[in-house]
Symmetry: C2
Subunit: 649 residues, 2 copies
């Protein structure tokens, strides 16, 4: 006898209805996964994050009470999808706010963006290092002799002979991509046998004709390349004109894998379930990178299949999943990845819709928990060629640190959790439209003033990483929270703790985009303190291991896609960053993406990243006896040892 099943009808805000059969007792979230509906669940369905709030329209569920649903919301039918077991056929409304990040794709033309500045500076650095325009691609214009009855050489061979002279090669050393061959007969006859060829110089000094365009009288084609940063929480891509190094457009989206958990460990566990690896691979490629590439190419007016070079950087788990290679052993002793570095791959192998013969390079990892995002980041920070002792702090779902200079480099990872990217925080979000990215609080009125990402008139949606650091710094500075992160209930109380339940309301329901209060709760602050404590204790432990005091650090590079950059003063105030002078800090944006950008513009830069990877030492913090003590001590604002953060002389 088959088990009885119920049907859930999902009514998705701004989307189509979905029907899916479920077994009695399965959760609404499990039903959503079966329907391939990406309901946000960074806590992997433990009922702790509160992001999967849906509204029950019809039917009966078994649902625990939760602090994430207020009593009047509960009466209105709101439930957490993860904590609601199905007891009948259901009709469930899924508000846009419950949809996982990948639906929030954003692509921006870069003509006015502030990120342009970071890439321009890096391009300058590459030029200084003699690494610019070393991507191997060139445009060669040729005029072919026209075929005749007594000259019936095939089109392809005719072209290769014509290319031999400008390339100073022999025709046998030039091959033609099938992609180019397919358009060749038509194109030659439409352009009077004059054409422009996109030619790639191969490492063995042979050449590949990747593409052809009409000749002399036509517009000069762009040679586009793509840098991709695959983060655990979000994916960023950058479309670059390889001839000039100029970024054309930038895009980002939530990593489609988020529905399988917020951190790499949840993803690795999911990958070992039947079909899990294929699901995770599809979630980050087909459901995320492919549409993002389509969108960014469209923004720039280019067909995706004419993108000729791609560089991908990501942490070790992400690059494994991107290549559909099992990351299972990353978390099993002795923590061995399937690969550190790949040879150059081809577009057609990866199914991401770029040119089938595109060179695709993956930034190399050095271990299970220090990946290509860090080796690429170490490159773009330029630490590897500095004299001064420098520290790179990369704030992602995992926090990673690199310390060293031109002489040595060491790295470590710490589980900061997704707080800086909006995870684990009830009103947290990525640094995209509607995010509060900066905040100050008036000490007298205790009223906040904030800056919101997005067009003028944009209402606030939530807090991104930089806004969170600001807000908590300000709450502490104004005495609204104490060193333990608790709302101070004695003395003058903030009118923004409306219910007296230990929260600070940044925006009331009538001012917010969602029509719900945007508030930081003590749980949020707790989660944040653990995240910032993980960062600071990792810095202290790493320096202790190599026998440097914290004030030996001469320069600090802070990276991560957390918003407007970091208000370092606040970050020091709350004990997240070491107490150095502000001039020593440099915010360098998404260093994984800009490292990938460097590798994209220059094969030699890619070789440099490989060299960095080979030379970098990995420190395992958790095996160091003092790490746990350091962490506990850092879980205060600013620290149990407040001398560390007393004003400097």
């Amino acid at each position: 006898m088959e088990a009885q099943t119920y049907t859930i009808t999902f009514k998705v805000e701004g989307g189509k209805d979905l029907l899916v059969p479920v077994l009695p007792g399965e959760s609404i979230l499990e039903g959503a996964k079966k329907a391939n509906l990406a309901i946000d669940a960074p806590c992997s369905g433990n009922g702790t994050c509160g992001k999967c709030r849906v509204k029950l329209l019809e039917g009966d569920v078994e649902s625990k009470e939760t602090r994430h649903i207020a009593p009047e919301e509960y009466s209105a039918g709101y439930r957490l999808a993860c904590s609601s077991g199905v007891r009948s056929n259901l009709t469930v409304f899924v508000p846009a706010s419950a949809l996982a990040y990948q639906t929030h794709m954003k692509v921006t033309d870069l003509s006015t963006s502030r990120e342009q500045g970071i890439f321009a500076a890096l391009q300058e650095e590459l030029r200084d290092m003699g690494l610019s325009a070393d991507h191997g691609l060139e445009l060669v214009t040729v005029q072919l002799p026209k075929p005749a009855l007594d000259d019936a050489m095939a089109d392809q061979e005719r072209l290769l002979w014509a290319l031999a002279e400008p390339l100073q090669s022999d025709p046998e050393s030039i091959r033609m991509s099938l992609y180019a061959l397919r358009s060749l007969p038509q194109l030659l006859r439409g352009s009077d046998f004059s054409c422009r060829c996109v030619v790639r110089r191969e490492p063995d000094q042979r050449y590949t004709v990747l593409d052809i365009y009409p000749g002399r009288d036509s517009e000069t084609p762009v040679l586009p390349g793509l840098a991709i940063d695959i983060g655990t929480t979000s994916v960023s891509i950058l479309l670059v004109n390889l001839q000039t190094g100029e970024p054309l457009a930038v895009g980002s989206a939530g990593n489609g894998q988020i529905r399988y958990g917020a951190d790499v460990i949840s993803r690795i566990i999911e990958s070992t379930r039947p079909g899990g690896l294929a699901r995770l691979h599809k979630a980050v490629t087909e459901d995320c990178i492919v549409p993002l590439i389509k969108q960014i190419a469209q923004t720039a007016g280019l067909p995706p299949e004419r993108i000729y070079r791609v560089v991908v950087a990501g942490n070790t788990t992400m690059t494994h999943l991107f290549l559909a290679v099992s990351p299972e052993h990353l978390r099993l002793e002795p923590y061995v990845p399937a690969f550190f570095a790949n040879g150059t791959l081809r577009g057609a192998e990866l199914g991401i819709g770029v040119h089938p013969d595109a060179e695709v390079e993956i930034a190399p990892s050095i271990g299970s928990y220090v990946g290509g995002d860090i080796t690429a980041g170490a490159f773009s920070s330029m630490i590897f060629k500095k004299e001064s002792l420098s520290l790179l702090i990369d704030l992602g779902t995992n926090g990673e640190l690199v310390f060293g200079n031109g002489e040595f480099l060491m790295s470590c990872a710490c589980s900061a959790g997704p707080a800086f990217e909006g995870g684990d925080i009830s009103c947290g979000m990525r640094a995209t439209d509607g995010a509060i990215e900066a905040c100050s609080i008036d000490r007298d009125t205790m009223e906040p003033v904030f800056t919101i990402i997005g067009p003028s008139g944009q209402k606030p949606v939530g807090l991104c990483g930089s806004g969170l650091i600001d807000t908590i710094g300000e709450l502490f500075r104004c005495g609204i929270i104490n060193a333990k992160g608790r709302i101070v209930r004695e003395g003058k109380r903030t009118p923004r703790d409306e219910w007296g339940i230990g929260s600070y309301i940044l925006a009331f329901a009538d001012q917010s985009e969602s029509g719900r209060d945007i508030a930081l709760t003590e749980t949020d602050i707790d989660n944040f303190i653990r995240a910032k404590g993980a960062i600071f204790s990792a810095i202290r432990t790493m320096l202790t291991i190599v026998d440097f005091p914290v004030d030996a650090i001469e320069q600090v590079y802070v990276s991560g896609g957390i918003g407007s950059g970091i208000n370092v003063e606040q970050a020091i105030r709350i004990g997240m960053f070491p107490n150095l002078s502000l001039e020593q800090y440099h915010y360098i944006g998404n260093s994984s993406l800009s490292g990938a950008y460097g590798m994209l513009c220059s094969r030699k830069a890619a070789g440099k990243v490989a060299e960095i990877a080979r030379g970098m030492t990995y420190l395992e913090l958790s095996s160091h006896p003092s790490y746990m003590d350091e962490f506990v001590a850092a879980c205060f604002i600013p620290h149990t040892d407040s001398d560390l953060f007393s004003p400097q002389e």
Copy 2:
């Protein structure tokens, strides 16, 4: 207002029902094409071949009378699909006999096949030339050190380091295919870190690990390769154990493109229609080669994606369509192909289901009408290294000739039409089960005795090329037909011209597989005479151009997949082949397939074929003034100049 449409319901013998909307007046054949139902129509729907006989079960069509449908069949509902315009909703029965060839896929284990002999002989030749086992693949067994906390090198890098010693290479010169990487972590841990690697030596002395198998204690894996001959009418494939050169299985199927016409010209025209190129590409790959590869791999107990090397030979139109490159300009002055030769392609580029990194080589063409089938055939015939003046006659849909020896080679093409492969002949078929492959007729009784391909008890289905030559030779020898190919109506008449309508019934309805007479009509004989006349006149014209008499030919190699080999005596009797002694003739089977087999076993052999292609001269017969006269003179049995075929001294 939308045009009115009717619906045809196709009831396919041995298949599923198909429904398709059609416009009034469209033919049943057009409806079948829309439904992607491959009804056989080698005449492209001109009503001349009679292969598209279907049975109308319900509905009304406008249908011309035709000699292909007898009056009592007409009353029973039989119609030609191509000549029946739809006038109402229809239900149409499609008998298996009307389905195009590709449904008749056949794969044979080669342990007892006679073809084995041809490949064994070629393997011997390769060995003599020092070309055997030069396919670049090898199996390397390695034992890896096991990872530990203090040795956390990634799996891939661990393997590459272990391979460096046996390959006498450095690890940086070895790369791993993504396909292999994906199975690596699981496989190593399941086999105690011992494994066997399939490694390919690349032309630049680097290595690629294509695949991995468990190590020492397991069965030695086979390294399979695939030779493919893409003919206009049929596709043949040969699965080979590359370690030994031994053929494992052979398969063939009708070229799925047949529904778009029997000859290359019809296919080229179809390719220029909207979507035509994609349809033709799909018809030969997805609908034909892919299932054939699946089937042959299954026969040998191997997964298709573990086929590591592929060589494809075909005429110029076929290789263009296989690569989805437009053949349009092959038939437009100045007759220029898009390409002669390709660099090595990769499995993933072609979507035929073999290993994504498999090396795929295409035998090079030398012109619009002399393709890779001929350059490969010239290799397998070994003409290119002979002292004696030799002639290769390849009997396909196009007849092609190569003449020369170790000093020079020239080639030409002649449109023989598809008669030798069963086209243009009412009872014609490919050399597969049920084909009459040899025939003799008793001069007194005028009764035939024939040999049928297939298992014992197989009833006859039709005539393949070799059976056709035999039958017509015997009809002439017995005086049943005259020099013009007409049934002799005076004197003693054959009881096999039952209706006195000018046909010879080889098998009566009650003896045949289909339950219909198998008969040769005067029209069939006419078509055949033009085919054989094209061959002989091409031989004469080519030799005249280079100033050799026909009897200068010392050896003749006859190839083509036309059945049991050719009864040369009959072929000379009817004036198809020159009147040389029988010992000078050698039947070498499908020389395109065996040439591809040679290239598969040896990269140097592939290089030799490229050399042959570069050195071969192409003669355009149609531009020679005497060719038309030669052809007319050859359209008799044996010839208007009967001295050419008088018994030799």
